[in-house]
């Protein structure tokens, strides 16, 4: 009897680290347990399987898969295009968010609605939609299908909403009086934008850019019909992973997938840090 009480006491002391005290009740513990079992079966164990399988051929096999010329070309293309598109989004996304918050014109509500279409639209359809205007039968006479530009176009399409939607709410909540004060003290519009507005929306732009980069790195569906998936030319990492899977080479597929998993983890880590920084400032 006394030993049981004693062991319970030490457990309580051991758990008493500040900040991690559990406030779970019996019912919510059960709920957390069930949720964690599902989460493990769905997400954690399958992701662990990728890491484990990637190591099947040892370290050398892993490095060989990544430095294989075709895979390396795919990695370079994907990272390069993702950076390019994220750059475009930083400029255009911020401008669109600005227009949506500060400008007033007929049809603004429609613009706001259209921004969400790439997020809700099936990715395979996104590719088909872009082919309509920028494919072989383009009414504009621009045909990018099977060209590098098709990758840029598809990635720009699917990542359009990210920066707009992260910057928009922050811009809407900015206090107008700081800007007015600066202007009344003689600051020009450029100075106000650069010194007052920009610093307050930079964390939001960074968060949107991280999401947009991650999405661009991992895109697959919209490229299937548009890019032609040509090795060394328009083949991105996702396409390469899928062709490894279809060829039955799961070890190489997993090896390449670890790179994308690493990027995804880095992005959620960056977002967590950014969110905390924004919260502390606010």
């Amino acid at each position: 009897m006394s030993t049981a009480v004693l062991s319970q006491d030490t457990r309580a002391v051991g758990r008493g680290r500040p900040g991690v005290r559990s406030t779970l009740t019996a019912g919510s513990s059960l709920g957390l347990g069930v949720a964690m079992v599902w989460f493990s079966l769905l997400v954690l164990i399958p992701l662990a399987a990728i890491v484990a399988t990637a190591g099947d051929d040892g370290w050398h096999g892993y490095v060989d898969t990544l430095t294989n010329p075709q895979s390396w070309a795919a990695i370079k293309l994907t990272v390069g295009q993702a950076l390019l598109v994220t750059g475009v989004n930083i400029v255009m996304g911020t401008m669109i968010a600005w227009v949506l918050v500060r400008d007033r014109f007929w049809g603004k509500r429609l613009l706001d609605l259209v921004i969400d279409i790439p997020f809700a639209m099936p990715t395979i359809v996104a590719g088909l939609v872009l082919l309509g205007l920028y494919g072989p039968k383009s009414p504009l006479g621009i045909n990018v299908s099977n060209e590098r530009a098709s990758v840029t176009l598809a990635l720009a399409f699917v990542t359009l909403p990210f920066i707009v939607r992260t910057v928009q709410p922050v811009l809407a909540e900015l206090e107008a009086d700081v800007e007015e004060a600066a202007a009344s003290l003689g600051a020009g519009q450029l100075t106000v934008l650069r010194r007052i507005v920009l610093p307050s929306i930079v964390p939001a732009i960074a968060a949107g850019a991280a999401l947009s980069f991650a999405r661009a790195i991992s895109e697959y569906g919209s490229l299937v019909l548009l890019s032609g998936m040509l090795p060394y030319h328009t083949e991105v990492v996702s396409v390469r992973v899928l062709s490894f899977i279809e060829g039955g080479d799961r070890t190489s597929a997993a090896a390449l997938a670890t790179i994308m998993l690493g990027v995804a983890l880095a992005v959620i880590f960056a977002l967590d840090v950014l969110q905390r920084r924004v919260a502390r400032r606010g």
């Binding site: 939609v129 019909l225 992973v241 992005v267």
Partner: protein, 270 residues
């Protein structure tokens, strides 16, 4: 508020509107034109094909399952993350966002490695007990749940944080049990957030392509979903039918956005 001079204002406005029009607006219009190029012929041809109608049924079934599972998981997880403290909470919260930045292809591969019946970690054992996961509905539901995992959680968490737990505590102190508090206080407060989450999850689930291509095996007339049919039809030179099925999918996704955007303002003025 800083006032831009007229030329700057017009340049920014035209650049923003022009970019969105060229990237999204006009391409979507051309899709509609292509779909209706021969009147309703493409639609008739598409829906006369039993494989197409079957794929739509499969897509809806899989999506409804995924929406149901993710809604229960999402609301439960949001309640745990907001209302309770426990070790590892921050890590769990960050991990729930992971599917947002992960390739559908990687998600498909991950599930394949664990649940395939030949050499997966759990697959052979499960198949010995009669549960075929990969190239079958369970795997397709799991893949869809995975890709849409954060959507409900992320809609519900901010609302739960904002309403606070005063009313819940009041109800509890007046003798309500946990189920009564959940049904009478918490769920009504987060109702609209759950609705947005469900609509977003539905849109995402109906359109999933990459992950399902891997775990479904893309078997025509059996596990093939509507987005997979679009690819097959397009590559088999039945482009009219591909455009027709795409139009149906776009219509559903646009309706989903409309529902969300029409519901959203109501929340601020209840």
């Amino acid at each position: 508020m800083v006032e831009l001079t007229a030329p700057v204002k017009w340049t920014v406005r035209l650049a923003a509107v022009g970019y969105v029009f060229l990237l999204v607006g006009w391409p979507v219009v051309t899709l509609v034109q292509h779909a209706f190029a021969g009147g309703l012929d493409s639609f008739r041809a598409a829906f006369a094909d039993p494989d197409v109608s079957h794929s739509l049924v499969v897509t809806v079934e899989i999506s409804l399952w995924a929406v149901a599972i993710n809604t229960v998981f999402g609301v439960g997880m949001a309640l745990l993350l907001v209302r309770h403290e426990f070790p590892g909470k921050r890590l769990l919260s960050a991990f729930i966002d992971l599917p947002m930045s992960m390739s559908p292809v990687v998600i498909g591969l991950a599930l394949l490695l664990v649940y395939n019946g030949r050499d997966g970690w759990f697959g052979p054992t499960l198949e010995a007990h009669g549960l075929v996961v990969i190239f079958n509905s369970p795997g397709m539901i799991m893949a869809t749940c995975f890709v849409a995992l954060p959507l409900v959680v992320r809609e519900v968490i901010p609302v739960l944080e904002e309403v606070g737990d005063d009313q819940e505590q009041a109800a509890r102190s007046l003798g309500a049990n946990a189920a009564q508090v959940l049904r009478r206080i918490t769920l009504p407060a987060i109702k609209w957030a759950v609705v947005y989450g469900v609509v977003l999850t539905l849109a995402r689930s109906l359109g999933e392509f990459g992950a399902l291509k891997i775990v479904s095996g893309n078997l025509t007339g059996q596990t093939q979903t509507a987005p997979l049919v679009v690819e097959q039809k397009y590559n088999n030179f039945a482009q009219g039918e591909a455009y027709a099925v795409s139009f149906v999918l776009v219509l559903i996704s646009v309706l989903c956005i409309l529902v969300v955007s029409l519901l959203r303002p109501k929340e601020s003025q209840p």
